[in-house]
């Protein structure tokens, strides 16, 4: 699947396109098919996202969304060297998902 990601303009937070809004949780990302450019242009114009780009991803067995490239998985979770600062600070296994 193709998903769309970017950063929140004000906070810089990593966000994912959910079909109608932006979420900080990659699980909420939807397949944008070949609409990526159109959505990106519209959303960026409306300042709901900054520097959006489309990436490849796949839906995993538990229904989660896994970006194809490690860089976007690190963006999705947070720095692997600071579990306390990731989106899943309480989950000691969270880092394994990245690698």
């Amino acid at each position: 699947m193709k998903i769309l990601t970017g950063n929140d303009l004000k906070s810089g937070a990593v966000t994912w396109w959910t079909g109608y809004d932006w979420s900080i949780h990659v699980e909420d990302a939807v397949d944008v098919g070949d609409e990526a450019d159109a959505i990106a242009a519209r959303e960026e114009g409306a300042r709901r996202v900054n520097a959006p780009y489309a990436i490849d991803a796949e839906r995993d067995a538990n229904g989660g969304v896994r970006p194809a490239h490690i860089k976007d998985r690190i963006r999705a979770l947070g720095p692997t060297v600071r579990p306390d600062l990731t989106l899943k600070p309480a989950d000691p296994e969270a880092g394994n998902w990245v690698i």
Partner: protein
């Protein structure tokens, strides 16, 4: 320390207000990202992996206690409780919000700091020897010259749109502690036979994808022509540096392509012309600046030894302190490399402590080193034990300066959008491995440097052992380099062969150190043994 005059302060303050207005216009949609990006970058604000990232300039790495306190406050108020000290003697914050960036810059301006010219194709923050003004082997304090260059290069209209970024380092001793020859311009202050002070110019060094060691293009530029000569070097570069290809745009490529002789000839020609233009600031300005760097009021008649009864303290004393030019004093280095920690990171509390120690024990001064550590430049030997105890209690007591645990690592793929691989976890595993096997002390001086991509922010070319992260079909892979150095004997490391995965590179590093332990001769460092026996013995052990 240098203090802003009211021009400096007014310029920085007005720049904050200008940026506040630019940010407002961006948030209101009056500026697009394409329009705004160059404006935020000119104020040090990047967009990185997790958020905006702010790079703050620390001129020649020198900070007052109040400035270090302010950096700590900023880490708490605008970031997530920490900052990252870099190989360019700067600090980076990784979690900045655009909407708060103007307030952050205003807080910085209040302590005479800013983030101007920390990005883009201009002259960046000037770096220097972290022991300036304290170490015995310098011929003069390099900081006034660095400060003069800072003033000249700040807002210099001709050099704000160079072909590429431009980095200058200034030192003033035979021992190079600033990787001077790996800068676009490296300046070494020297004394000629007549006893006059001047500057030797090394031009066209750099790392990145095409590392080069700067050749000396002039051995003595009189001190009252320092700026004029620098201007000539920059003018020739600005005129002929390649703007068609980002990867060939650094001055190192120009000097290499023209050849040292031809580049030098052109600089000398431009220099002769510029001498007729009277652009050099009056010597009185240099003298005015120099007064800010006068020695602090050292006490005399102090005891010249420290009590070594605590073995942990004795170890730290031997590893992390250096002789000071003033009897009774020492230079103390605070390692930001705890075993298993993140090289260069410091928490709010740690920064506050370092600020307090600087104020209380080091004449209100501390320094950031290019090896991502912090220096207390002027401490009484009698105070070292008290300092060490406080550092220990705050997790800052690692006694590992210049050892295999004292790793330089760039942020890598954990933070950097240009990265191919993570650097920090590799550094953590290596420091743990050597701490666990207890080999650190035995290995002695061993400089290990890691970059997460070919840009070489972590100086991997210059490590006795260097590690470069690459992307191998979508997975992280690490190449091993041996034999680099950034001191007086600057050399570039050579790649040993095929790369490794994360655990593999840690094993490979250990095997390389085993070759050293087996083959070293009396008094040899890792680098010396490597140079004597050559790469093949190491390759054999590593790939076997």
């Amino acid at each position: 320390m240098y203090r802003y005059d009211h021009y400096d302060q007014a310029m920085v303050d007005s720049r904050v207000e200008e940026f506040r207005d630019q940010t407002r216009r961006r948030l209101e949609g009056k500026l697009s990202e394409d329009q705004f990006k160059p404006l935020r970058l000119q104020n040090g604000l990047y967009l990185q992996l997790h958020a905006y990232m702010l790079r703050v300039a620390i001129p020649y790495g020198t900070l007052s206690g109040a400035q270090m306190h302010a950096l700590a406050d900023i880490a708490g108020k605008y970031d997530r409780g920490y900052g990252h000290f870099t190989t360019r003697q700067n600090i980076q914050y990784n979690w900045i919000k655009l909407e708060e960036a103007p307030d952050l810059l205003a807080d910085l301006a209040r302590v005479e700091m800013h983030a101007i010219q920390t990005s883009g194709n201009c002259i960046r923050n000037i770096s220097s020897d972290q022991y300036a003004g304290a170490i015995a082997d310098e011929i003069i304090d390099p900081r006034p010259y660095a400060e003069l260059l800072r003033q000249w290069s700040s807002f210099h209209p001709e050099f704000l749109a160079l072909p590429r970024k431009f980095k200058i380092a200034v030192i003033a001793s035979q021992t190079d502690r600033a990787a001077m020859k790996l800068h676009d311009i490296g300046i070494r202050m020297v004394r000629n036979d007549a006893g006059e002070i001047g500057a030797a110019f090394y031009v066209g060094g750099g790392m990145g994808r095409t590392p080069m060691i700067a050749p000396c293009i002039r051995e003595f530029v009189p001190v009252d022509q320092l700026i004029t000569y620098s201007e000539a070097c920059l003018r020739v570069y600005n005129r002929y540096g390649r703007r068609d290809n980002k990867y060939k745009a650094r001055i190192k490529i120009l000097v290499h392509e023209l050849g040292r002789e031809e580049y030098t000839r052109q600089v000398e020609e431009e220099f002769a012309h510029l001498l007729t233009q009277g652009i050099e600031p009056p010597l009185a300005e240099l003298e005015r600046i120099a007064t800010f760097f006068a020695d602090p009021p050292f006490e005399t008649g102090l005891a010249d030894d420290a009590v070594r009864s605590d073995p942990g303290f004795a170890l730290w004393l031997d590893r992390n302190t250096l002789p000071h030019k003033q009897p009774g004093y020492a230079i103390a280095v605070i390692s930001l490399k705890p075993v298993g920690g993140i090289p260069g990171d410091a928490s709010v509390e740690q920064m506050h402590l370092m600020a307090d120690l600087a104020m209380r024990y080091s004449f209100d001064e501390c320094r950031v080193t290019h090896a991502q550590n912090i220096v207390l430049p002027h401490v009484r030997k009698a105070d070292l034990f008290a300092i060490w105890q406080q550092l220990e209690a705050a997790g800052l007591g690692a006694a590992n300066l210049d050892t295999v645990e004292d790793i330089i690592a760039c942020p890598g793929l954990d933070y950097c959008s240009l990265a191919n691989a993570r650097s920090i976890p590799v550094a953590q595993k290596i420091s743990r491995r050597f701490a666990d096997t207890g080999k650190t002390a035995e290995l002695g001086e061993l400089k290990l440097k890691i970059s997460g991509c070919i840009n070489a922010c972590g100086h991997h070319h210059a490590g006795h052992i260097g590690i470069l992260g690459v992307d191998r079909k979508g997975t992280e892979n690490y190449q091993l380099l041996l034999g680099g150095s950034e001191g007086d004997d600057t050399s570039l490391g050579k790649i040993t062969g095929p790369g490794f995965d994360e655990d593999g590179i840690v094993d490979a590093v250990e095997r390389a150190t085993d070759v050293y332990l087996a083959r070293r001769r009396e008094g040899e460092r890792f680098l010396d043994t490597y140079r004597r026996v050559g790469i093949d013995a190491f390759k054999e052990a590593i790939y076997g």
